[in-house]
Amino acid sequence: MREITFSQATLEAMDEEMTRDERVFVMGEDIARQGGIFGQFKGLPDKFGKDRVKDTPISETAIVGAAIGAALTGMRPVADMHFADFMGVCMDEIFNQMAKIHYMFGGQRSVPMVLRAPDGLINQAAAQHSQSIEAWFMHIPGLKVVIPSNPADAKGLLKSAIRDDSPVIYFEHKALFNTRGAVPDGEVLSPIGKAKVAREGSDVTLVSYSHCMGLSLKAADILAGEDVSVECIDLRTISPIDKETILASVAKTTRLVIAHEAVKQGGVGAEISAIVAEEGIDFLDAPIVRVGAPFTPVPFARPLEQAYRVTPEKIAEAIRGLF
């Protein structure tokens, strides 16, 4: 199968969906003249014109608010958040408007739009340009939240997100943009709300997503050399969450570890732990373990950032503790 980068995969998704449906357009900062700060919009302005690939002022509330208005009135906007960290600027638009309109107005209209949010640690970008904030959004009814770990799902989930009639937040990890992976030719659609068993195993279930998924697979490799068989689940969507896949795996392996780059406290791992504690505690032969960042802002200095990061070794060590 052909291999392309994560960034190219998102480009193909945009290109195909904008070709298929002329209501789809994209707006955000620095996307038209330079093709996005991570090159993830390169070529789109030339192909679709600057009316459908729009540079905006530095006005996040206006970007998201206007996308909501356009979505309500017949368009299917994709809004780029530049860095996920700047979503704080437009939180009212996200959680009081975008997320609630469909329910609050009795289902009269949907808000079919996508927020693309590059997140995560890269190049010591420090406290305001490095965060993983996905867990905030799983606490908000009305939003779908997807978070791919590889080029195939990057393409498949973005296409599904654009076609979805609910608002979808699409987290794309900055450190993934240049990674390569196999992507099938032709139509690629990944289902929203469906996790994937990325590696089968029998001794422990390791749930992860996004950039941390790759680290989790490495941890599984390390442990394979120690005769521990790890089943890796790539969540892909964190809201609505795919309980069935997680519970089925835990029923088989009897152990559960969740790993993510975001701070451990109040993270996605906490929700998964709670689900398994409520609905699958009898499956468990060991306590549930979460691996995440410490409860601190992201520090700048290299040794501190290194210490902050989740690594394959930290995940492997957590799993060793279960046996």
Partner: protein
Amino acid sequence: MIIFRKRGGGSLSAKKVKEKKGLNKYPRTLLEQFYRTMLTIRSFDKKVEEKFLAGEIPGFVHLYIGEEAIAAGVISNLSREDYIQSTHRGHGHTIAKGADLKRMMAEIFGKKEGYCKGKGGSMHIADLSIGMLGANGVVGGGFNIATGAALATKMQGKNNVSVVFFGDGASNRGTFHEAANMAAVWDLPVLFVCENNQYASTTPYMTTTSVENIADRAAGYGMPGVIVDGNDIFAVYEESQKLIDRARRGEGPSLLECKTYRVKGHYVGDPERYRTKEEVDKVCESNDPIDRFECTVLDGKLFSREELDAIKASAGKEVEKALEFARNAEEPEISELFAGVYA
């Protein structure tokens, strides 16, 4: 609108130059301070650029090169007790407010002796002890903080002012409008200083902003809006002085728009595919604030070339010392990661 001004203009006599610029009223020490501050910023940022490109400095770095007259001119009107609020492009403001170059450089290198113990980096340098309320990684994050500092000074019965620097791009954040209105309705001593360098990252000013001048917006909040050539330190100094004095008298906030140009890429390493080299060269050739200062004081026979060179050399030496300090400084211990989450 970019203001071009040719270097030189040697046809005026020294006396005329002095009169025209009103240079007679400038104490020599102030002129020297202008020059030293601008040169220190210039050589500091050149050094940072060099070391970033050499792989010694990580993270994101935004240079102030070409905009030095704004920080140096405005902040020359402030005392240590006045506040400034800076941006992602903050080295210049920080230096002009009197920060320690060694601790700045150490922070940029992520070292323990840095201003923020290595936790912040270039985009997050602060020195609260000299009224420097912080650089900011979030565009437009500083407007309301500056307004709050001005509110506090007023409540505390002090007559200090609060100056917030911001870009043309930042003026499109809602925070600008909210801060401007609140500062105006409460007559707070805030000076909003727009550094209109014609670009917000990849987007030219006129493609994202509905008015030709950011200063035009001041009227909407009932405050004065003044436009100045941001590469002319004398003009920046004089206009900001009037507005700062006004704020100190309790007459409320105002907005100073400094027209300038971002000579360097948005950040070090910017491929700059959104503009041509010719455009940049054309502006640089004629409009460098340090060159312009030199021409003026040389024409006016206020300083000799040798005197200027001596100041330049000593500024360069300070930056070298800062670099040495930063390189030799220690990295933070891992325990620092967990320290300081709460007060």
